[in-house]
């Protein structure tokens, strides 16, 4: 009886898995299908491989190739990774290890900003950044990250640092380390796992981000991949579906590779802080 139950459980899981993975495998297969086949052929594998979808998609937008959009996305994502990791790490150190006036109040404020919807801030921030003349540059997307505006990562790192034995700090103190040297020689090297998790999530979120990039990057040459992908919808004639799916696959690829390489860190990351993908 227990055996039968076990098999039912496995079958149920496999069924759910098939439904969950179908869209992903379907898009991969369909990106290689000819225009007529995309809609008529339900099967995942194309009858004949149509690589031209990728070439057509790459130069679909007149004058600017997807190479440019990928370049823009990579630049913004990598800069965000560095900025987030550095600024959130120092902030987390202050919250997790140092005693100073008002710490509890600041910590509560930081948690409150976790719940603050980005859509509330976007209008005044846009007004502010347009006064600076920063619209259509990557600056509004990168510079704020230097100021530890991603509270999620601060929280994640605080949680992580609380797990580092305090004896290490005390030992460093006895050896004559001030808070700065303790940070540099003790906390920073030990925080590597939290830094990696932050880096991966920063990259994936920025890579997938659409809303702020749509708002701040209005001209085609400064588009990132998500903003450019959207242009495929304007003329949703069947002929452009193949190239659209081909570019979608390319845009999903980096996230998928991160997933393959760092699955452990991703799952740990959500477990320590409840981060969302």
């Amino acid at each position: 009886m227990a055996r039968v139950r076990g098999w039912v459980r496995v079958l149920a899981l496999l069924g759910v898995l098939a439904i969950v993975l179908y869209p992903l495998i379907w898009v991969l297969g369909s990106s290689l299908k000819s225009p007529t086949e995309v809609s008529s052929n339900l099967s995942i594998w194309p009858q004949e491989l149509t690589w031209s979808n990728y070439a057509d998609g790459w130069s679909y937008i007149p004058g600017v190739s997807f190479g440019r959009f990928f370049g823009n996305s990579i630049l913004i994502s990598l800069a965000t990774v560095v900025a987030n990791a550095a600024s959130c790490l120092v902030t987390a150190y202050a919250f997790a290890r140092l005693r100073f006036w008002g710490r509890k109040g600041y910590f509560a404020l930081m948690i409150a900003t976790l719940l603050l919807p980005g859509h509330v801030l976007i209008v005044p921030q846009y007004v502010m950044f347009s006064e600076f003349g920063w619209i259509d540059t990557p600056l509004p997307l990168i510079l704020p990250k230097l100021l530890a505006t991603e509270a999620f990562f601060i929280f994640l790192m605080v949680q992580f640092m609380r797990g580092i034995p305090r004896e290490l700090d005390d030992a460093a103190k006895i050896d004559g380390c001030d808070p700065y040297r303790t940070f540099w020689h003790v906390i920073l090297p030990l925080s590597r796992p939290a830094l990696i998790t932050t880096a991966i999530f920063s990259f994936i979120w920025t890579w997938n981000d659409f809303f702020t990039q749509l708002v701040y990057l209005p001209s085609v040459p400064s588009y990132t991949v998500p903003v450019a992908l959207r242009l495929f919808i304007d003329s949703s004639g069947q002929t452009s579906i193949g190239p659209m799916l081909a570019m979608s696959v390319l845009s999903l690829l980096p996230v998928f590779l991160f997933f393959l390489g760092f699955q452990r860190f991703l799952v740990q990351g959500i477990n320590t802080s409840g981060l969302k993908g």
């Binding site: 969950v20 809609s39 900003t113 603050l116 801030l121 921030q125 502010m128 704020p144 477990n271």
Partner: protein, 307 residues
């Protein structure tokens, strides 16, 4: 005496170091968060549009708010759509994530692999690419209808049907159940097995064990997931925007509140009006959070007596 003075000095230098390390965040809090919020509050009482210069900004009192509640049918439409979306998609997503987590919890072999693959959509699902995949799958000639036709059912153009467009969005949201599922799995691992053993000795059925052990022990995690998914769910933008090509259509059926804010701010450039919309949004989210926390004590069970 000397020791105490030294201690005092190190305390002070630690306090100073605290502010040094905190300074990027503090500056960010003031310039990127607090100041824009105050600016937005001010703008919500003006007719500011980003196109004309500041000299033409006029204080209009509560006009924006009055107009939103009395003369903006799109506002009410977007509230309706957002609430419908939230009240249906979020419970279903949590139910799916809890269900699969329960299925996975017993299985020892391959849990990591399953968990990873179920989590994958949460990483990819919010992207523009996946919204495009949804368009390709759920339009009139898409794969979904090809699948239905195998059973002799003729599907319609789901994405362009005002009765169904929001449903396809909900399916896309529920599809991303992996993130709360991972959190549920971690929570399930925390439930002491002795409780189940004791229940078994007492002859409690699996059903009773689920309702009297699993659910209460899991209630803090359910609370956490519910709060997180609600706040995230109400902020959904990308999928609805891309699938409806920025319109929130057909016939406003996918006009989430965030799309209305975007329209007013960045299509009509009515920044003052959009700020007022944003503050109403913030108040609503705040209210929901307060309601969650104040009702939480009636159904969230903390085993170690904290709180």
């Amino acid at each position: 005496m000397r020791g105490r003075r030294k201690n005092y000095a190190s305390r002070r230098s630690e306090g100073l170091a605290g502010y040094v390390f905190l300074s990027p965040w503090l500056i960010g809090l003031m310039t990127i968060t607090a100041f824009p919020m105050l600016l937005s509050l001010y703008l919500s009482f003006t007719n500011y549009d980003v196109l004309s210069s500041w000299e033409f900004v006029e204080w209009v009192g509560f006009d924006n708010y009055k107009k939103i509640f009395t003369a903006d049918p799109t506002f009410w439409q977007s509230v309706r759509v957002t609430l419908t979306f939230g009240l249906i998609a979020i419970p279903l997503k949590l139910a799916a994530s809890l269900g699969v987590a329960l299925l996975l919890n017993r299985e020892r072999r391959g849990v990591g692999l399953f968990r990873g693959m179920f989590y994958l959509p949460s990483l990819l699902g919010g992207s523009v690419a996946l919204a495009l995949v949804w368009v390709a799958m759920f339009n009139g000639e898409g794969a979904f209808n090809a699948g239905l036709s195998l059973f002799g059912i003729e599907g319609n153009n789901w994405i362009n049907d005002p009765d169904w467009a929001l449903a396809t969005l909900m399916v896309l949201t529920i599809w991303q159940f992996g993130a709360p599922m991972v959190i549920f799995l971690a929570g399930l691992k925390q439930v002491p097995t002795e409780l189940y053993e004791a229940a078994q000795v007492d002859g409690a059925s699996k059903r009773r064990q689920f309702f009297h052990i699993t659910l209460p022990m899991l209630s803090p995690v359910i609370f956490f997931n519910l709060l997180l998914e609600t706040i995230n769910g109400f902020q959904g933008f990308t999928s609805a925007f891309v699938i409806s090509n920025g319109t929130g259509g057909p016939l406003g059926s996918t006009k989430l509140y965030t799309l209305h804010i975007y329209d007013k701010a960045f299509t009509d450039f009515q920044m003052g009006y959009a700020s007022a919309l944003a503050w109403i949004f913030l108040a609503a989210i705040g209210l929901i959070t307060i309601v969650f926390f104040s009702t939480g004590k009636f159904w969230v069970h903390y085993s170690d007596g904290e709180n």
